[in-house]
């Protein structure tokens, strides 16, 4: 059963006439971890803001937990938990006060008890009575996540939950996401990290320039890239011979040379490696190094969009997404 159903969603920002989301359709099944993978500005955050009722769509429909986001936003809000990219905390409150207030706003029966419970879940019991402004980045992220869980939502939206976190904190968030999912929460997360999408998501959609360009399980997506990559170290003074061998081999679809190596795209890696070694050897070329790499999500991304996921698995770009987000919030409605 789909717990999120999105059909032909479009969002055009009047200012600048930007088509941030351009006909997105997707279904998220009850109980799965669904990932939205794409670079900054691909439309991930805008889609999440529409699904969480913070933005209204220009056209298209979205139903979350059985409620239409436009027709019945209040019912949607009761069913979902949200942790946005930029934590929305209040530095003057203590962690405990913050969660108690959040629980009260969601009409949780015993806000105090729920705050105590959640502080324990996210490991902030010792810091519970310190003001939030004294928390580290990772602690703030955990408190923000806890705030999204006060009412035990059926669906949890996490917008780039690990952007800017150190590897250890990232692991913690992943463990928490898996734990929540095992307890029955459906999770939709956005990420610009290939590794995160691969490790965490049951299914994912690759989004670029407001459109979904590929969707499926990480395995299906990778299998859909029919090419494997064989990487050769180019022997000195044998470039011409190597090129001739590669051009004459049926398994080779194309190859690219770079700085002492050749990346050879082949239809069947298992068969291609011995065949290439033999052919090169027959031509009198000894290859000092050869390796076979299976397709990654980045290859899927490249094939689907024509470009690599910019800054994939690297630190956030010069202008962090948070800045764009703030600008959007500041803009006059």
């Amino acid at each position: 059963m789909s717990i999120i159903e999105v059909r032909d969603l479009v969002k055009v920002y009047r200012r600048g006439n930007v088509r941030a989301v351009d006909g997105v359709s997707l279904d998220v099944e009850d109980g799965e971890i669904f990932g939205f993978l794409g670079p900054n500005g691909a439309g991930k955050t805008t889609t999440v803001r529409i699904l969480t009722t913070l933005l209204s769509p220009t056209s298209g429909t979205a139903v979350v937990a059985g409620h239409d986001v436009v027709a019945d936003p209040a019912a949607v809000r009761k069913s979902i938990g949200v942790a946005l990219q930029e934590v929305g905390l209040d530095g003057l409150q203590t962690g405990r006060e913050f969660l108690e207030l959040q629980a009260a706003l969601f009409a949780v029966a015993d806000p105090r008890a729920r705050a105590v419970e959640l502080l324990d879940v996210v490991g902030l019991t010792d810091a519970a009575d310190r003001r939030v402004r004294t928390y580290s980045g990772g602690m703030k992220r955990r408190l923000d996540l806890a705030a999204g869980l006060v009412h035990r939502p059926r669906v949890l939206f996490l917008d780039e939950p690990t952007t800017g976190l150190d590897p250890a904190s990232r692991e913690n968030v992943w463990a928490e996401v898996r734990r929540l999912n095992a307890a029955g929460t459906t999770i939709l997360l956005t990420t610009q990290y290939l590794e995160e999408a691969d490790a965490l998501c049951d299914r994912l959609a690759i989004i670029d320039q407001g459109r979904i360009v590929a969707a499926g399980t990480p395995e299906e997506l990778k299998a859909s890239v029919s090419e494997d990559l064989v990487r050769l170290a180019m022997p000195p003074r044998a470039k011409t011979k190597v090129r001739a061998v590669l051009r004459g081999n049926d398994l080779v679809t194309r190859f690219e040379e770079d700085d002492g190596h050749v990346d050879v795209y082949v239809t069947n890696g298992q068969a291609a490696v011995p065949a290439l070694v033999r052919a090169l050897s027959d031509s009198g070329v000894v290859v000092p190094e050869i390796s076979l790499r299976r397709p990654t999500l980045d290859d899927v991304f490249l094939r689907s969009t024509g470009h690599r996921l910019e800054g994939a698995d690297a630190e956030p770009a010069a202008e962090p997404p948070a800045a764009a987000d703030t600008a959007r919030r500041r803009r006059t409605a």
């Binding site: 969480t52 009722t53 913070l54 933005l55 209204s56 209040a74 809000r77 009761k78 069913s79 979902i80 949200v82 946005l84 930029e86 934590v87 929305g88 905390l89 209040d90 530095g91 003057l92 409150q93 006060e97 108690e100 207030l101 959040q102 009260a104 706003l105 969601f106 009409a107 949780v108 029966a109 015993d110 729920r114 705030a147 009412h151 035990r152 939502p153 059926r154 029955g184 703030t326 919030r329 500041r330 803009r331 006059t332 409605a333």
Partner: protein, 269 residues
């Protein structure tokens, strides 16, 4: 606990909720706590009006004899209005901060009435305005002001200051919600200058130049000041009081109406 609860979606959530208990009260407590936790936000708003009251009245005491026997009582209303105006500025800035930190989004994501976000803030503003006005009034009494209408009149004067404080807060909140910009919200303070200087704030209306009198008659602040001044200086005057409250209601309808509309627009962009 009288309210029914449900565990339908796995959570122990009340099915019957009260706007006051689950929305206004928790939000009110939060804003009040935040205000008290920043001493820099509590002291200066009191210091400036008290400074004005003591220094200005001392400086003008002899000159003022021409039109007011008790210049402290004459000047108290303006001081009270200055006091509550600082509340409005602080309120707008707090709203900007919530928008900037993303906390405002968190409130929009909660299943509460959007109006409650603004109402709770106005409740805190009202509390601050009433408290600050009371303190300034006590200082005025301490330095020798004599309130013509006695303690009851003093309370009415405070309630007028309270009303004006809320109406004035609407300006900063309007700008804050519409722009989300601290600079713009800070700049909205300039509205206070024409309101105060184009009114009989320092001298009686009839002592002002003709053109200024004409302008002042179009300034609702004139009627607020005159009503309050009646209470502190001359005695009860029903018409003056009604006009004063009507002027506050007129300012408030425009500013607060705009603020609630701005909130609606921001919440449904």
């Amino acid at each position: 606990m009288t309210a029914a609860t449900t565990t339908v979606e796995g959570a122990h959530v009340l099915t019957r909720r009260s706007v006051f208990r689950h929305e206004l009260l928790p939000l009110y407590r939060r804003s009040l706590r935040n205000w008290l936790r920043v001493p820099a936000a509590v002291i200066p708003p009191l210091f400036i009006p008290v400074f004005f009251l003591t220094v200005n009245t001392a400086a003008l005491d002899n000159v003022a004899q021409f039109f007011a026997e008790d210049y402290v009582a004459f000047f108290v209303p303006v001081t009270l209005l200055m006091t509550v105006a600082t509340v409005g500025n602080g309120s707008g800035m707090s709203m900007v901060q919530d928008i900037d930190t993303g906390y405002f989004d968190k409130l929009l994501l909660a299943p509460i009435r959007r109006d409650a976000i603004l109402l709770a803030r106005l409740m805190v503003d009202g509390t601050r305005a009433a408290l600050q006005a009371l303190i300034v009034l006590l200082v005025a009494l301490a330095i020798g002001a004599d309130i013509a209408t006695g303690p009851v009149g003093a309370l009415v004067a405070i309630s007028m200051a309270f009303g004006f404080g809320l109406a004035y807060a609407g300006i900063g909140l309007n700008v804050a919600i519409r722009t989300g910009s601290a600079e713009a919200t800070q700049s909205s303070m300039i509205f206070f200058f024409p309101l105060v200087f184009l009114a009989p704030s320092f001298v009686p209306l009839e002592q002002m130049a003709d053109w200024l009198q004409t302008v002042a008659r179009f300034n609702p602040m004139t009627y607020v000041i005159e009503a309050m001044r009646g209470l502190t200086l001359t005695g009860w005057n029903g018409t003056e009081l009604l006009t004063g409250f009507a002027a506050i209601a007129a300012i408030g309808t425009i500013t607060l109406g705009g603020a609630f509309r701005a909130l609606k627009a921001r919440a449904s962009q």
